[in-house]
Structures are given as C-alpha cells and as structure tokens.
C-alpha cells in the first residue's frame, strides 16, 4: 500500500494551482463545519457561569466541567432509553434494508410481471402522506400500541430509499444478470452473489439513512408508546429542552432548560453516528470493477 494516496495509475497529478485551490476550499469547508460543532462541545462542558459570560454559547471553554453530562446520565433514565434506541435502530435497520433491497431488486426489471402497478404503488406513497390520527388508529387496530414494533413497522420501508436502491440496481448491466440467469442461477442467488457485492456503497448509504431515521425518531414514540419505560432516547432528550417551539410553561413549574444541557444532548445524540459512520465510509473509497464479477 502506498502511504496516504490511492491515486490510480490513469489519474494525473493535479497542477499546483488546482492543488492550492482544493486546499483552500477544503479548509474552508472543514472550518465551516467544525467551528459550530466545537462551539456545541465547548458549551456542553462549560459552567452556567461561563456560558452566561460568553453570552449564550462558548467558543473556547474556560471553566470546564461535566455537570451537564452528569445531570443527564445519572438516574438510569438515559441508560434504559439508550438500550431501547439501540435495539430499535438495530432491528429496524436490518429489517428495513432487507425489505428495501428485496423490493428494489424485484422492481429493477421493467419488463417483469406486474412491474408498473407495483412500482406506482410504491411511488404514490412519496407524495401522499397519511395524517397523524389515521396513523394512530391503524397502529391501534393492529394491536401495536405500546409495542416496540410500533416504532419499527410504520417506517420500515421508505419509498425514497427504495427508489434510490432501485436506481443503483438498474444501472447494473442487464447482460451480467442475464448471463447468470442463463447459467441457471435463481433470482435470490443473483441478488446475493452478483448484485449485492457490487452495490455495497448504496446499501451502506441506505442503511445509514434508515439507521439515522430510527435513531432520531421521537414522534411515533410519543404517539404510540404510553409506557415511559419503553421510550427511546430522543423522547427523553427532547424533554430536556430541545423542542422546536415550546408552548407555555406554567408559572415557575420548571426552571428553564440550561444551555449546557441542550448542547450535551446534541453531543450525546451524535456519538452513535460517529461510531457508525466509518463502517459506511469504508464503502465509498473502494472503486467497483463490475466486469470482474462474473455470474
């Protein structure tokens, strides 16, 4: 392995001017992205006093303490919710990716039986969204209220992700697949041994999309789960004060949420994504050699 460079032989070296331009552009991007995040982390580990002195958000932490994290993490409320969230994200993502890949493959051949009606049935759901109350009634009728499945099944398949995966599948040369068919391979085997290995990138991305959606979702939990022991992390975190618009808080019932806690919540919620991302990222850097995969 060459150190720090994976330039293929056919790629030319960039000119110094282009290189300089790229360095400037990338530095700007990294700064723009990281600066606010540094502010978030710095604020989360600052005392209320330091935050107040800084006028709300801290750039360089002066009085470091982890009180906000201690407040959130003690008491067992979070640990329970983290387990719930991990379970739902894990099981949900696995189910979603499986169902989506199967459906995308099943819909990837325009001449197949029932292709158009099936595809349209899926596409239609991109435009027409069901309302909150009918959704609640459906989940209730299916007996899923207060069940973890109510947090997975309603969002298990997204037509958006389905269309994305299907687009990738349809870019694969049909000849490759036909060859395998001629050799007597069943559809499942073709999917497993030919299509999937060269589609790792898109499956990783869609897995990430699903995973993040499960991890971030709170609204369904709020609607369908009345047993607070089954609440996922995001419901708890929102209660710590990160709501879009707070409705009126009764006179002095609850002290206003603190900035440090809000920022600590942002940090806590992003950690799993930071852990998961490298696994997804792995699949971006590898080029694909379609021709090399034979049926």
């Amino acid at each position: 392995m060459r150190y720090a460079s994976n330039r293929p032989a056919w790629m030319e070296k960039p000119s110094p001017a282009v290189l300089a331009l790229k360095i400037v552009a990338l530095s700007a991007i990294v700064f723009l992205v990281l600066f606010p995040f540094v502010v978030v982390v710095a604020t989360s580990i600052s005392t209320e006093h330091a935050i107040a002195q800084a006028g709300g958000l801290v750039v360089i932490p002066t009085e470091v303490n982890f009180e906000a994290y201690r407040q959130i993490l003690t008491g067992g409320v979070i640990t329970q919710a983290v387990l719930v969230s991990i379970g739902i994200t894990g099981v949900g993502t696995l189910l979603s990716v499986t169902v989506t890949v199967l459906a995308a493959y099943g819909l990837s051949r325009p001449e197949s039986f029932g292709h158009r009606p099936l595809l349209y049935t899926a596409l239609f759901t991109l435009l027409f969204a069901p309302g909150i109350i009918p959704m609640y009634l459906t989940v209730k009728q299916l007996g899923l209220l207060n069940s973890y499945w109510s947090l997975i099944l309603p969002t298990a398949i997204s037509a958006f992700n389905l269309v994305i995966v299907r687009t990738f599948f349809m870019r694969l040369p049909g000849e490759l697949l036909d060859a395998a068919r001629v050799d007597g391979a069943g559809e499942l085997r073709i999917l497993g041994s030919i299509v999937l290995p060269i589609s790792k990138a898109v499956i990783a991305v869609v897995g990430l999309f699903y995973g993040v959606a499960y991890w971030n979702s709170f609204f369904n939990a709020m609607l369908f789960i009345t047993d607070e022991a089954k609440w996922p992390l995001q419901v708890i975190l929102r209660l710590y004060g990160l709501q879009g618009q707070q409705i009126e808080i009764p006179a002095g019932e609850i002290p206003p949420p603190q900035q440090a806690i809000q920022m600590a919540i942002v940090v806590l919620a992003i950690i799993p994504v930071l852990i998961a991302f490298p696994f997804v990222q792995r699949h971006f850097t590898k080029g694909v050699v379609i021709g090399a995969v034979k049926g």
């Binding site: 990294v30 169902v99 099936l118 027409f128």
Partner: protein
C-alpha cells in the same frame, strides 16, 4: 457505449437472441431469456417466470399498504369537519369547504408563493452543492484528508434547528459577534438576521451549511459505484480530467441526480418547517410564512385537522404534477427518471 469493458461487451453480444450460441442452450432457458428481453407472453407464463421477483416486492408492499394506504383513507377528513372524538363516521361532510377556506385566504396564497420561491432558490443554490462537493472529494488522492473531510462534513446535519438558529443569531444577529465588532470599530451594524429582503437567502444558506455534507453521501456512493474500468478505458483513449468527468463521471451519477431532483420536486411545497417557525417572527409572515407554518398556525394548532389534511392533499397534487412533468422531461433527455416510459 464505446467504452464498455470487454467482458461485458462480449456478454452482451452473447445475449443476442440471434446469436448462434443460443442453440447451445436448452429450449426452456432460451425462452425465458428471450421473453425476459421483450416482455411478451401471456400473463400466466410471465407470472410463472417472475413470481420470485413479485414475491421479493411483497414484504415491502404489504408494509406500504398497511402503514401508508390504510391510514391514507383517513384523508377523507379533508372533506369533513372532522372532530376526533366523533370519528370519521360521526363527523360532518362539508364537501370542498376546507379547500374554499384555504383558497379564500390571502395568507394562504402568500405562504404558497414564499414556499415556491424558497424551493426555487433551494434547487438553484442548494441542490448542486453536494454534487460539487462529492466531485471535489472524489478528486482527492490523499486518503486521510478525504476520510477526514468526509467524516466531519455530515456533522451539522445532526445539530437541531434550535441550536443552529441560536448559533446564527449569536454570530450574525443585531447584537452578534460580527455587529459588535463593527460597532467597536465605529462602523454601522449590518442587518442580516431579520432582514426581510434576504430572509429566503438566509434560509437557503442555513440549509446548505446544515445538509450539503449529508446530501453529499449519496453522490459519494454513486461515484464509488462507477466501474473503474470505464476510467481506465477513457484514460487509454487519452481523456484527461475534464473529459473523463464529462464522459464517464457525470453520466455515471446522472441517474441518481435526476432521481433526487424529481423526488425533490415532489416535495416542492415542503420547506423546512422548524427552521422557518423559529425565525419567521423576525421578518413577519409577509416574507417568512411558508405553507407548512401557515397550516400549523391556522390548522394544526387550532385543532383543525381537516384544513391540515386539505393542505396536505393540495401539496400532494402539486407534487404529483411536478413529478410527472419532470419525469417526462427526463425521458426526453434520455434519462430513465423514477419510472419508465411505457
């Protein structure tokens, strides 16, 4: 496809029904292959041939029917004066009254115009950014730099709008760092936050900052899926970076670009609800109200589920129209789009 790798090109030739090699295949197999290509045959035989494919779609379809189509029936409340505890059966039917209410309200039209303007700005200014970003990252050779940039650029996506708005206010607001600096230098403060004339640009700038890196991921995946042999052949033909970009890279990711563009059009009447809700007070509804916030204030918040459902149906119909036109436009340019021409 002149640059198609040799292996595929030869396989492709093999598949031609007229090819003599077919004679070597069993008759049954040959029929399957030929039918697969022209799609003829009775529906019975096609079902017998494709039942595995249909079965693969089935689980996803069942989920969609259960959790999308069944509750979708609830949209009947758009034509009712729906009261939750009376139910669908007990609520009064009012025909198109809810739509009339919307159409008669100037504030509705105002929010519709704002929404469309923001969507246009989004398409023009936001949409290309992740593509360019992905191409830029793709052109890097330095593995560590590439991984680092990829690894941080999606971070803002996970910061909630409440925090982002607070951040923008603290940096660019009337008493923000920038203006305080200007004041201390004896200069006049500049009004960025709360300036109605640039409010929509501000919204788009925030979206770019928050989501460009995240949206980039899917293009990275598309780029990673391009057959490297195509690049090799192009290089053999003497194509340098820009020609390779034009002839290999862009065609390679074009289906994904087109799909995302069409899907975005389907959502044309949906622009960042929470983002706008948090900031519209500064510029007022004239410049800041979008359809979703309008519906929130005048439907959802007052418990008027029927008006909200009516607005949802309108959004869907407009989205449907845009998707249909965009898709047929895509066909004209030789792209497949979301669904195929018959």
């Amino acid at each position: 496809m002149a640059t198609l790798p040799q292996t595929i090109a030869s396989q492709s030739a093999d598949r031609s029904p007229a090819h003599s090699g077919d004679a070597a295949l069993g008759p049954g197999l040959r029929r399957r292959v030929t039918e697969g290509r022209d799609g003829r045959g009775s529906w019975r035989s096609r079902l017998r041939r494709d039942w595995v494919l249909v079965a693969m779609v089935a689980p996803g379809l069942v989920l969609l029917v259960l959790f999308q189509y069944v509750p979708l029936l609830g949209n009947v409340i758009a034509f009712q004066d729906y009261v939750p505890f009376l139910g669908f059966g007990g609520s009064e039917f009012v025909g198109l009254e809810n739509f009339r209410t919307l159409f008669a309200d100037d504030a509705f039209w105002n929010s519709l115009v704002n929404t469309l303007l923001i969507t246009l700005l989004n398409l023009a200014l936001f949409f290309p950014v992740p593509i360019v970003l992905a191409l830029l990252l793709d052109s890097l050779f330095h593995d560590r730099v590439k991984k680092l940039v990829q690894g941080v650029m999606f971070l803002p996506h996970f910061i909630s709008w409440v925090v982002i708005v607070a951040l923008f206010t603290q940096l660019l607001g009337g008493a923000g760092l920038l203006n305080q600096f200007l004041l201390q230098q004896g200069m006049d403060p500049v009004q960025i936050i709360g300036n109605a004339s640039i409010f929509k640009l501000l919204l788009v700038a925030q979206v770019i900052w928050k989501d460009a890196g995240w949206a980039c991921i899917i293009f990275l995946a598309a780029l990673a899926s391009i057959d490297t042999q195509l690049y090799e052949s192009a290089a053999v033909d003497g194509a340098r970076y820009w020609r390779r970009l034009w002839h290999v890279t862009l065609p390679g990711i074009m289906p994904v670009i087109v799909i995302l563009l069409i899907l975005r059009l389907g959502d044309a009447l949906t622009v960042g609800f929470e983002q706008v809700l948090l900031q519209r007070d500064m510029v007022g509804p004239q410049a800041g109200e979008v359809l979703d916030t309008y519906v929130y204030f005048f439907g959802v918040q007052g418990g008027n589920w029927s008006v909200a459902a009516a607005a949802g149906l309108l959004k869907a119909v407009v989205g449907l129209g845009l998707v249909l036109s965009a898709n047929s436009l895509a066909h004209r340019f030789g792209q497949e789009g979301v669904y195929q021409r018959s």
